[in-house]
C-alpha cells in the first residue's frame, strides 16, 4: 500500500509507526492475545533452558557461600574479576530500558511506544541480576546488611565515601525507580487485562494490580504529568548510575582505571550494550508472538542507529584513553594501555575492539539495519564485546601490579562460569515469565500513536442514528454515562459539556487523548510541586545523614580527606533526591487520583469494560447542580453519543 502524501514524512518516511491498518481494538487483541493463548512450544523450550541455566546460580552461590570466594579463579593481584564484570555488564544492559522509556519520551520519539514496556522489563531483570553481586561477591551473605545505611553491632557505620556504597544506593534506587516507572506505565494495561479476564482469579489479580483504574481523563492528566516527571528524573538517574559504577574504578589511583572520561564513557557503553540486548530480545519476541506490525523494521532501524552512535562514543573513549595515556607522560599509564593491546590479554582487548567498534560499523548500511538476521548477529557481537570491555578494564589493570613480583594471570574456574551462566538464566527466566503474564507491549501508549487517536482526525459528526434515551430508573440514580465511538466525537462532546457548565463529570478513555484536558477545562496538575518538595527533602536528608555519620557519629579519616568531605556525599545525596522525587510522583499521582478505588459507579455500566479497549465515555454525576433527568441525556445525545445508560450503583 502506497502511503498518502500527507502521511509521508520527508525525512523519516511514512508517518505510520504501526503497520497493517490496526485500530484500537485490534491492538488490544494482538497484545492481550499473547497472554491469552497457550504458550508456544518455543517459549517452553527457552523457559526450560533458562531455568536450567539458573541452576548455575542455584548451585554456584551456595557453594560460594559455603566455601568462600576462593572457589572463583581470583588470585593476588586479580582480586576482582568476573563478579564485578558481570555486575557492571548487567547494570549496563539495564540502561537501554530507561533510555527508551525516559530519554526518548523527553525527545518525543514516538516509536518508543512499541518497545518501551519490554525494554523496561529488561531493565528490571538486568538490575536484579546485577544486584545479586553486591550481596554475594564477598562470599559472606550474612553480613550483607552492612550495605544498608545502618550501624553494625559494634556501632560502625558504612563508609559513605566509598564508591561501593554509592553503588548500592545507585543500583537499588535505580531498580526501585525503574519498577515504579514500569508499574505506572502498566496500570492502564492491567486494567485492560482485568476487563478481558475470563477467570475469576485472573480478574482478581489483574484487578487488584490495576488499582481500580477507570481511564478517567482527570486521572490521565495527573498520570501523564507523573510519567513525564518520572522520565525527567530517570534521565539524570540513568546517567548517574553508570557514572557511579564507573567510579568504582575511576576514584582509585590505578592506571587504566583512574581517568576522568570514565563516567560519560561508561554511560555511553551501557546504552550501547543495552540496545544490543533489546534487539536480541525483540527479534525473537516479535517473531514468536506475532508482533511484526507493532514492532516494525523502522524500530530496528532506529535502534541500530543508536548502537552506531553509542558505538562511536565508546570508540572515542577507547582512543582518547590511549592518546592521553601517552600524552600524560606517565610511564605506568602508558604501560597499562600498551599491555592491554599487546600483552597476555591482547586477545580480550581486540575482541572488545572488534565487537564494539568495528562490527557496528555495518549499521551504516540500510540493508544491514533492515536485515533481522544481521541485526541479531551484530547485537550478539555487541553484547559479547561489552562484556569483554568490562573484563579488559578490570582484569588487565589488576593483573600487572606496580610490583612485577606479584604479576599474575586470571583464569576462571567452573564456578565463575556457573555464576555467569546463572545470571543469564535468571535474566531469561524472569523475561519468559514477563512475556507470559504481563502485556509486553504498552498497548495504551501504542494506541496514542495511531492516526485515529488524534481528536482532530476524521469526522466529529454524531452517528446518523441518535440512540434511544433509556428510561429513567425509578430508584436511586448516581449519574448518566454515554458511549462515544471515536476520540474526535468525544472531544467535541467534552467541549459541549464543559460549555454547558457541568462540574461533576468525567471522560473515560483507553489512552490519554491529546488536548482533552483543555476540551474539559481542567486545571494544570499540582503534582510537580509535590515532586519538587520530596526531591529536595530526599537530598537534604541524604546530605545530613552522611554529614552526621562522618563528622559526628563515627568520625574517621579516610584516604586523607577531611571529615567533612562533602564532594563524596554528592552521589548518595543525588540518588536520594531522585528517590524522593520518584516516590512523590507515583504516590502523589495516586493520591491526587484517589486511587486505589476498586468500586465506582461507572464499573456498573454494561460495556464499560471497553473503556480500557476501544470505546470512549462521558459520565455525568447526578449530584451536579446542572444535572437534569431530561436535559442532560438530551445534551449527550446531541453531542453524538452512540449509547446512553443510567448509572445506578
Amino acid at each position: 500500500m502506497q502511503p498518502k502524501p500527507d502521511n509521508l514524512d520527508p525525512v523519516a518516511g511514512p508517518k505510520t509507526l504501526i503497520l497493517g491498518g490496526h485500530d484500537f481494538h485490534s491492538i488490544t487483541e494482538v497484545v492481550s492475545g499473547v497472554l491469552e493463548r497457550p504458550a508456544p512450544l518455543g517459549w517452553w523450550a527457552v523457559f526450560g533452558t533458562a531455568l536450567l541455566a539458573l541452576g548455575g546460580l542455584g548451585i554456584g552461590v551456595p557453594w560460594l557461600v559455603w566455601e568462600g570466594i576462593g572457589v572463583w579463579g581470583l588470585n593476588v593481584p586479580v582480586g576482582w574479576a568476573w563478579d564485578i564484570t558481570n555486575f557492571v555488564f548487567w547494570v549496563g544492559i539495564g540502561h537501554a530500558g530507561t533510555l527508551i522509556s525516559a530519554i526518548l519520551l523527553l525527545f518525543r520519539q514516538k516509536w518508543r511506544t512499541s518497545i518501551n514496556r519490554a525494554a523496561e522489563a529488561m531493565t528490571l531483570f538486568a538490575v536484579a541480576c546485577a544486584l545479586t553481586y553486591p550481596g554475594i561477591h564477598v562470599g559472606r551473605i550474612w553480613v550483607a546488611y552492612w550495605m544498608a545505611p545502618l550501624p553494625n553491632q559494634m556501632g560502625v557505620w558504612p563508609n559513605f565515601r566509598s564508591p561501593l556504597l554509592w553503588d548500592v544506593f545507585a543500583v537499588s534506587i535505580y531498580g526501585t525507580v525503574s519498577l515504579l516507572f514500569w508499574y505506572v506505565g502498566l496500570v492502564p494495561d492491567l486494567a485492560t487485562e482485568r476487563d478481558r479476564a475470563k477467570t475469576k482469579l485472573k480478574q482478581w489479580i489483574y484487578g487488584a494490580l490495576a488499582l481500580g483504574w477507570r481511564g478517567s481523563q482527570r486521572h490521565w492528566q495527573h498520570y501523564e504529568v507523573a510519567y513525564l516527571i518520572l522520565a525527567g528524573l530517570s534521565t539524570p538517574l540513568v546517567l548517574s548510575v553508570h557514572s557511579i559504577v564507573s567510579m568504582d574504578f575511576a576514584v582509585s589511583q590505578l592506571p587504566g582505571w583512574h581517568t576522568t572520561i570514565f563516567p560519560p564513557y561508561f554511560v555511553a557503553g551501557a546504552i550501547f550494550s543495552g540496545f544490543a540486548m533489546v534487539i536480541t530480545l525483540m527479534v525473537i519476541c516479535r517473531k514468536a508472538f506475532g508482533l511484526e506490525q507493532i514492532i516494525t523494521m523502522r524500530h530496528f532501524d532506529y535502534m541500530a542507529k543508536i548502537i552506531l552512535v553509542t558505538g562511536w562514543m565508546v570508540g572515542y573513549a577507547y582512543s582518547l584513553e590511549f592518546f592521553v595515556a601517552w600524552y600524560s607522560g606517565n610511564p605506568y599509564e602508558l604501560f597499562v594501555f600498551i599491555n592491554r593491546a599487546t600483552g597476555e590479554y591482547a586477545w580480550a582487548y581486540w575482541t572488545m575492539v572488534s565487537c564494539n567498534v568495528l562490527v557496528p560499523q555495518l549499521f551504516w548500511f540500510k540493508k544491514v539495519r533492515q536485515n533481522l538476521a544481521a541485526l541479531f548477529v551484530i547485537s550478539i557481537f555487541v553484547n559479547i564485546g561489552m562484556w569483554f570491555e568490562r573484563f579488559v578494564i578490570i582484569v588487565t589493570s589488576l593483573h600487572r601490579d606496580f610490583l612485577p613480583s606479584s604479576w599474575d594471570y586470571f583464569r576462571p574456574t567452573m564456578w565463575d562460569v556457573a555464576c555467569l551462566v546463572g545470571g543469564f538464566g535468571l535474566f531469561f527466566t524472569l523475561f519468559c515469565l514477563f512475556v507470559r503474564f504481563v502485556p509486553m507491549v504498552a498497548a495504551a501508549e501504542v494506541k496514542t500513536v495511531l492516526p485515529q487517536a488524534d481528536p482532530h482526525h476524521g469526522s466529529a459528526a454524531p452517528p446518523a442514528q441518535a440512540p434511544a434515551l433509556p428510561p429513567v430508573p425509578a430508584g436511586a440514580r448516581s449519574g448518566l454515562i454515554a458511549e462515544f465511538a471515536s476520540p474526535a466525537v468525544l472531544y467535541r462532546a467534552c467541549e459541549s459539556v464543559r460549555d454547558a457548565g457541568y462540574k461533576h463529570w468525567d471522560a473515560h478513555t483507553p489512552f490519554p487523548v491529546h488536548g482533552l484536558e483543555r476540551a474539559m477545562g481542567l486545571q494544570r496538575s499540582k503534582l510537580p510541586w509535590i515532586v519538587f518538595v520530596l526531591a529536595m527533602g530526599g537530598a537534604l536528608a541524604g546530605f545530613l545523614l552522611q554529614t552526621w555519620v562522618h563528622s559526628f557519629e563515627y568520625p574517621t579519616v579516610i584516604s586523607g580527606k577531611p571529615l567533612f568531605a562533602w564532594p563524596a556525599y554528592i552521589p548518595v545525596t543525588f540518588e536520594l533526591a531522585v528517590l524522593g522525587g520518584a516516590l512523590g510522583a507515583v504516590l502523589g499521582m495516586f493520591a491526587l487520583n484517589r486511587l486505589p478505588r476498586h468500586h465506582h459507579p461507572v464499573f456498573g455500566s454494561r460495556g464499560f469494560e471497553r473503556a480500557s479497549d476501544d470505546r470512549f465515555f462521558i459520565s455525568i454525576e447526578a449530584l451536579d447542580e446542572r444535572f437534569d433527568p431530561t436535559a442532560t441525556p438530551e445534551l449527550l445525545r446531541r453531542c453524538g453519543a452512540a449509547r446512553l445508560e443510567w448509572l445506578t450503583a
Binding site: D9, P10, V11, H258, T259, F262, E321, V324, G329
Partner: protein, 400 residues
C-alpha cells in the same frame, strides 16, 4: 506542499533598510573600538593582551561551534520543532571561517601563552620533551589549520545545502541532510576535542584529563543554545521571526536546562575524580583554581553556571516567556565567559583575578567581528529554512 510553506508566516528576507541590516556595521564598529583599545593598552602588556584575546576567541568560537552541534544533532535526530530557529544557528555556525583569522593573534602570541613553545623550557623538562612529538609548533599550526578547515567545511556545506533547498524546495534534500549530519558529527567531535586539548589544556602542559574535550563542548552547547535563544527572540522583537512561538521557546529552554545540567555533570565528574584520586600531578590544576581569588571564581561558577540556572529554569512558565528565557540565556553566556576565563587565566603564571580593560577590548573585537559576520549572513537569506519540507510542522509545533 511547497506553496503552503512559501506562504507560511515568517518566511521572509530582512527588508532593505530594516535596522537589522545595520548589524554588520555595528559589529565592525565595535570591533574597531575594541581593536583600538587593544593597540593602545596592549602595547605594553603583550602577555595580558594575548591572554585576553584567547579568552574572547574561545568564548565566541565555542558559541559558533555550539550552534553547529545544535544544527547537526537536531537534523540527525530528524527533529522538526527547531527548524524555525535552525537558520539562526546555521548563520552563527557559518561564521566559523572567520575564526581562522581571529586565531592569528593566538598563533602570533603563542610564546606568551604556551609554556611548551619555548625550546629552553622543553630542554629542561623531561615531560615536555616526551610530549614534543605532539606539542611542537609546526604540528600545532597544522592541527589548527585542519580544525578550521573541517569546521568551515561542515558549516558552509550545511548552510549551502539549506540555502539550495530554499530555492529548489527539494524535499529529498532533507533526508540527505539528516543522513550526513549524523556522520559529520564524528569529525566535529574529534576536532573540537583536540582543539580543546591544544588551545586550552596545553596551557598547563603537564596536566591532562581525558574528559577535557567533552567539558569544553558541553559549555559550548550551553552557550550555543543561549545564543540561539537570544538571537531568535531579538529577531522576533524586530518583527522578523513572527513564527517563533512560546512552544519553540519552551523547547529551547528545556535544552538550555538539560545542557546546563550536562555541563555540571561533566564538570563535577572531572573535579570529583581528580579530587578523590588526589594525585599531585592532576590536583595541581584545581589547586591553583581553589587558591586566592580563584576560589571565589570557582564557587561562582558552580553556583552561577549550575545551581542558579538549574532552579531558575525549572518552572515551565520561565521557559515559555521570552523575557525570562532571555534573562537566563544572557546569564548563561556571561557564565560561559567566566568559565573560559577560569580555564585560561589561572594557568598563565602571574595572572590573578584581574579582569581589566584588555578583557573588554578583546571581547569587543572578537565579538564585534562575530556579530558582523553573523549579521552579514543573516540579511543574505530568509530567516527560516524556507525550503525545508517540514517547516510547516515546526511552525505548528506544540509541546505535549
Amino acid at each position: 506542499m511547497s506553496h503552503e510553506t512559501a506562504s507560511a508566516p515568517g518566511v521572509q528576507l530582512v527588508p532593505a533598510g530594516h535596522r537589522v541590516t545595520r548589524l554588520p556595521f555595528v559589529g565592525i564598529g565595535l570591533a574597531t573600538i575594541g581593536a583600538a583599545q587593544l593597540v593602545i593598552f596592549g602595547a605594553r602588556h603583550a602577555e595580558r593582551l594575548y591572554a585576553a584575546w584567547l579568552v574572547a576567541f574561545v568564548f565566541f568560537l565555542t558559541i559558533a561551534l555550539g550552534c553547529l552541534y545544535f544544527v547537526l544533532i537536531h537534523t540527525a535526530m530528524q527533529g522538526s520543532w527547531g527548524i524555525v530557529v535552525r537558520r539562526v544557528a546555521e548563520n552563527a555556525a557559518a561564521t566559523l571561517p572567520l575564526f581562522a583569522i581571529l586565531f592569528l593573534p593566538v598563533a602570533f602570541g603563542l610564546h606568551s601563552l604556551y609554556h611548551w613553545s619555548h625550546p629552553e623550557a622543553v630542554a629542561h623538562d623531561a615531560l615536555l620533551r616526551f610530549k614534543q612529538p605532539y606539542l611542537n609548533l609546526p604540528f600545532f599550526y597544522a592541527r589548527a589549520a585542519l580544525y578550521f578547515a573541517v569546521w568551515s567545511a561542515i558549516a558552509l556545506w550545511f548552510r549551502r545545502q539549506s540555502r539550495l533547498q530554499d530555492e529548489n524546495r527539494d524535499a529529498a534534500a532533507a533526508a540527505r541532510l539528516s543522513r550526513y549530519s549524523g556522520a559529520l558529527l564524528i569529525p566535529l567531535a574529534i576536532t573540537t576535542t583536540f582543539a580543546a586539548f591544544d588551545w586550552l589544556m596545553s596551557l598547563a602542559p603537564h596536566w591532562y584529563s581525558t574528559i577535557f574535550g567533552v567539558y569544553v563542548f558541553a559549555g559550548g552547547l550551553v552557550s550555543g543554545f543561549a545564543f540561539v535563544s537570544i538571537a531568535a527572540v531579538a529577531l522576533r522583537r524586530a518583527g522578523l521571526l513572527p513564527a517563533l512561538s512560546s512552544e519553540h521557546l519552551h523547547d529551547l529552554g528545556k535544552l538550555l536546562f538539560a545542557f546546563t545540567v550536562f555541563w555540571a555533570y561533566i564538570a563535577f565528574s572531572q573535579f570529583f575524580l581528580i579530587w578523590y584520586g588526589n594525585i599531585p600531578e592532576e590536583t595541581i590544576w584545581y589547586r591553583v583554581r581553589l587558591a586566592g581569588g580563584w576560589k571565589l571564581v570557582t564557587i561562582a561558577l558552580a553556583v552561577g553556571h549550575f545551581a542558579l540556572p538549574f532552579f531558575f529554569l525549572m518552572p515551565r512558565a520561565i521557559k515559555r516567556n521570552a523575557t525570562t528565557l532571555v534573562v537566563a540565556a544572557v546569564w548563561l553566556l556571561a557564565m560561559h565567559f567566566v568559565d573560559v576565563y577560569w580555564l585560561v587565566m589561572p594557568s598563565l603564571e602571574g595572572l590573578g583575578v584581574q579582569p581589566g580593560i584588555m578583557d573588554v577590548a578583546a571581547l569587543l573585537t572578537v565579538g564585534g567581528a562575530f556579530l558582523a559576520g553573523f549579521g552579514w549572513l543573516l540579511v543574505k537569506s530568509p530567516l527560516v529554512p524556507a525550503g525545508d519540507p517540514r517547516l510547516s510542522e515546526s511552525l505548528a509545533f506544540e509541546n505535549v
